[in-house]
C-alpha cells in the first residue's frame, strides 16, 4: 500500500518516533551504501584517493575476469556450507539433549553457550596459537594420540581447515539456543498423541520436531549463512590476514585486504556489490522457497 500524505498526517506521532532511527540509518547504512555503488564505478585507489573519477564498469569486469574472484567464491561457498551444516547439526543435536530432563541441565547449557560468550578476537587468536605445528595444543595432542603432525597454518587447506574448526566451535551455540527455544514451544500433547499411535523416535523427529522448529530454524539458518558468508574476523585472525600466501581468504576478507591494505577502494567497492547481490538473491530465494515467514499453526 502506498504511503500517502494523509497517512503521514494521521500517523504523525508514529513517524516522529521513527525519525531519529531513520536519520541514523540514513547516515550509517543508506548513504554509505549508495556511496559504495558510486565508488564501484570509479578509479579510487591509493594514487587517486582524492581526485577519483567515474570510469565505468571496468571494476566489475575486472573482478569477473580475475581467477581470484572465482577461487575465493568457491572457497567462500565451501566455508559457508561446511560451517552452517556443522552449526545446525551440532546445535540441534545438543538442543535435543538439553530439552530432555537430564541432570545438571543448566550447568551444561551455560557451558555450551560459553564459546558464544567469549569475544571472537580472543577465541580466534587462542585457536591460532593452538594450531601451531610444533607447539600448539591441537598439534601436540594429535602427535601424542595418533603420531601425526599437521602443518595447519602453513598450508593452504590446513589453514582453511583451522579456520573452519574455530568457527564451528564458535557458531554452534547460537543454533543450539534457537533450536532449544523452538523445541520448548512444541506442545507435549503432540508427542503424547504420537506415543499412543506407536510412533518411533525417528518418526516423531521427522513429523513433529523438525516441522515445528522449522519456523525458527529457517530464519536462523538464513542469518547463519549470511553471517558465515561474511565472517571476516575468524578467517582474518586465524590465518593472520590470509596466510599462507594470501590463499586463506573468503570473499569479504579479500575485499578488506584489497580496500584497506592495498587501498584499491573502487575495486573493493565493486567486489562488495557483487557479494551483496549474491547474498540478496540467495536470501530472497531461500526464504521464499522454504516459506519461512508463513504461519505454521
Amino acid at each position: 500500500m502506498a504511503v500517502g500524505v494523509g497517512d503521514i498526517h494521521n500517523n504523525r506521532l508514529a513517524y516522529l518516533y521513527t525519525l531519529p532511527a531513520l536519520i541514523v540509518m540514513g547516515m550509517v547504512v543508506i548513504y554509505p551504501f549508495f556511496y559504495n555503488i558510486v565508488l564501484s564505478f570509479s578509479n579510487m585507489n591509493l594514487i587517486h584517493f582524492k581526485n577519483w573519477r567515474i570510469t565505468g564498469i571496468s571494476n566489475y569486469t575486472g573482478v569477473f575476469k580475475e581467477s581470484t574472484f572465482w577461487y575465493f567464491l568457491v572457497k567462500t561457498v565451501l566455508w559457508t556450507a561446511v560451517n552452517v551444516v556443522f552449526h545446525v547439526t551440532i546445535g540441534i543435536f545438543l538442543a535435543l539433549i538439553l530439552n530432555k530432563d537430564i541432570k545438571g541441565k543448566s550447568f551444561f547449557r551455560t557451558l555450551l553457550i560459553l564459546p558464544w560468550a567469549v569475544p571472537q578476537y580472543i577465541t580466534a587468536l587462542t585457536w591460532r596459537g593452538m594450531f601451531d605445528t610444533e607447539y600448539g595444543a591441537v598439534s601436540l595432542t594429535l602427535v601424542k594420540l595418533f603420531g601425526i603432525q599437521i602443518p595447519w597454518l602453513t598450508t593452504e587447506w590446513g589453514a582453511f581447515a583451522a579456520c573452519i574448526i574455530t568457527n564451528v566451535w564458535l557458531g554452534f551455540p547460537f543454533m543450539m539456543i534457537v533450536a532449544l527455544g523452538g523445541l520448548q514451544s512444541i506442545p507435549d500433547e503432540l508427542y503424547e498423541a504420537a506415543d499412543i499411535d506407536g510412533a518411533s523416535w525417528w518418526h516423531k523427529l521427522k513429523n513433529i520436531t523438525i516441522p515445528l522448529i522449522k519456523p525458527v530454524m529457517i530464519p536462523a539458518i538464513t542469518l547463519g549463512i549470511i553471517w558465515t558468508f561474511n565472517n571476516f574476523n575468524i578467517v582474518w585472525l586465524v590465518s593472520n590476514g590470509g596466510e599462507p600466501a594470501d590463499k586463506t581468504h573468503i570473499l569479504v576478507s579479500w575485499i578488506y585486504k584489497s580496500g584497506f591494505r592495498y587501498f584499491r577502494m573502487a575495486y573493493a567497492a565493486a567486489f562488495s556489490m557483487i557479494i551483496f547481490s549474491i547474498l540478496l538473491i540467495f536470501s530472497w530465494n531461500f526464504i521464499k522457497r522454504t516459506k519461512a515467514v508463513e504461519a505454521v499453526y
Binding site: 585507489n45 594514487i47 605445528t133 599462507p244
Partner: protein
C-alpha cells in the same frame, strides 16, 4: 611502540599537558598496519590524531594521499640542524619537503643472543650453521628439537631482506622499480628454507609471536629482532647481547637490514592554536631529555646529535651494538612503491615454506606481482 614505550610516552604526554590545562592530550596505540589505515581514513575525513608516530616508510603513501603537513616551513632550520645525518639521516624528506621528525633512528633488525646460551655469537653464515648444530637440542630425547639455535619471523619478507641485501640484491632500484627476480632473492630464500628444513637449526614454522615466545622462554638461543623488542627481553631478565646478522660467506658482505627513522608527522587538518601546540609537543617529544628516557628504558638510538653523543648512549653496550649493525644497514626507501613490493613479496615468498613453489619460481612470481600492483595502482 610496545607496552614499555607507550607507558613512557603516556608519562611524557601527561607532563606536557600540564602546560595546557584547557587542552586534552591522549595517545592511541595500534599495530603499525592498523595505525596507518586508521590514520589515513580519519585524516581523509578531516579529523584524526594531531601527530602520527611510525616508521619513515609511511611517508610516501601519506604524501600521495595528502594526509600529512610539510614541516620544513613550520619548523625552524636551526632546530632541524640538531638532528643527526650520519650514519643515516634522522629526518625524512620526500619530494624536496620535510615530512617526519624522528625521535629515534634504526628500527633495524639485529642478531640478539642469550648470553647464557651463546658465548660467542656467529660472525658468518657458516659459523651460524656450525654453532647452530650445537645449540639446537633435543632436550627430552623424543627425536624432535626442543631448543633451536635461532628463531625469527622469517616468513615475513621484511625479515628476509637482510639476507637478500647480503647476497648483493635490493628489492627496488633507484628508479623505484622492483628488482625481486634476482639471484640474491633466490639465494636468500633458499638459505632460509635450508636453515629450517636441511640444517634444522630454526623451527619449521615461525611467526613473530612464536619466535619471541621461544626466545623469552629459552627455547631459542638467538633471535633476529629489532630495537622495539629489547626492552621486553631485558625486563624478562634475559642477559642479551646484540650483534650484526651474520656475514654471507659467499659474497663477503654483511647481511644488511633495512634502517629507518621513527618519528612524528603532523596531521594535514591542523590549523591555528592546535597546530601551534602540536608543533610544541613534537619538539618536546624529540627533545634530548625525552629521547634519552626512551633510550635508557628501551635501548633505542636517539635521533638528536646531542643525545647521540651522550655518555649514556656511548657507554651503553646494547645501543653501541645496535649502531654497529646499523652501520651496515640499508636505508629504507620512503616511496609508495615499497608498499606494493612488500605486498607482492609476501604470497610467493611464503609459498616457498609450504613447499608450493621453488625459490626460483617465487622470485619470478613476486616480480610479476609487484609490477602488476604498481601498474594497477598507478593507472
Amino acid at each position: 611502540m610496545r607496552p614499555l614505550g607507550t607507558k613512557i610516552l603516556q608519562h611524557k604526554i601527561e607532563q606536557f599537558s600540564k602546560k595546557y590545562p584547557d587542552w586534552q592530550f591522549r595517545q592511541l596505540f595500534y599495530e603499525p598496519e592498523t595505525a596507518r589505515t586508521n590514520y589515513i581514513i580519519s585524516a581523509m575525513g578531516g579529523s584524526g590524531p594531531a601527530l602520527f608516530w611510525g616508521a619513515s616508510d609511511n611517508i610516501g603513501p601519506f604524501v600521495e594521499l595528502e594526509v600529512i603537513k610539510q614541516l620544513d616551513t613550520l619548523i625552524d632550520k636551526s632546530v632541524l640542524e640538531q638532528f643527526i645525518t650520519e650514519p643515516f639521516p634522522a629526518n625524512t624528506w620526500f619530494q624536496q619537503h620535510l615530512y617526519q621528525i624522528a625521535d629515534r633512528v634504526g628500527n633495524h633488525l639485529c642478531l640478539v643472543y642469550n648470553k647464557k646460551l651463546v658465548a660467542n655469537p656467529p660472525q658468518t653464515l657458516n659459523e651460524l650453521k656450525e654453532i647452530g648444530k650445537q645449540l639446537t637440542k633435543d632436550l627430552d630425547k623424543d627425536g624432535k628439537a626442543d631448543r633451536y639455535a635461532l628463531a625469527w619471523n622469517y616468513t615475513e619478507p621484511f625479515f628476509a631482506v637482510p639476507f637478500i641485501n647480503g647476497y648483493g640484491g635490493q628489492i627496488l632500484d633507484d628508479n623505484n622499480r622492483p628488482t625481486l627476480n634476482t639471484e640474491a632473492t633466490i639465494k636468500a630464500a633458499q638459505l632460509i628454507y635450508d636453515l629450517a628444513n636441511k640444517d634444522r637449526i630454526i623451527p619449521i614454522e615461525c611467526n613473530y609471536e612464536t619466535s619471541n615466545a621461544l626466545f623469552l622462554d629459552g627455547y631459542a638461543a638467538m633471535i633476529i629482532n629489532g630495537p622495539w623488542s629489547w626492552g621486553t627481553y631485558i625486563e624478562n631478565g634475559i642477559d642479551i647481547g646484540i650483534t650484526r646478522i651474520p656475514m654471507i660467506d659467499e659474497t663477503g658482505r654483511w647481511s644488511s637490514p633495512m634502517v629507518s627513522p621513527l618519528g612524528y608527522s603532523v596531521n594535514i587538518n591542523l590549523q591555528g592554536e592546535k597546530l601551534k601546540i602540536t608543533l610544541e609537543l613534537l619538539q618536546f617529544l624529540t627533545s634530548k631529555k625525552v629521547e634519552l628516557e626512551f633510550t635508557r628504558a628501551m635501548g633505542t638510538i636517539p635521533s638528536r646529535k646531542d643525545a647521540f653523543q651522550d655518555s649514556s648512549v656511548i657507554q651503553n653496550e646494547i645501543i653501541q651494538s645496535s649502531i654497529y649493525q646499523m652501520e651496515v644497514g640499508t636505508l629504507m626507501p620512503v616511496v609508495t612503491e615499497l608498499r606494493w613490493i612488500w605486498d607482492a613479496m609476501r604470497p610467493s615468498y611464503q609459498s616457498i615454506f609450504t613447499g608450493q613453489v621453488t625459490p626460483i619460481q617465487a622470485a619470478k612470481d613476486m616480480q610479476h606481482l609487484a609490477e602488476k600492483l604498481i601498474r594497477e595502482n598507478r593507472e
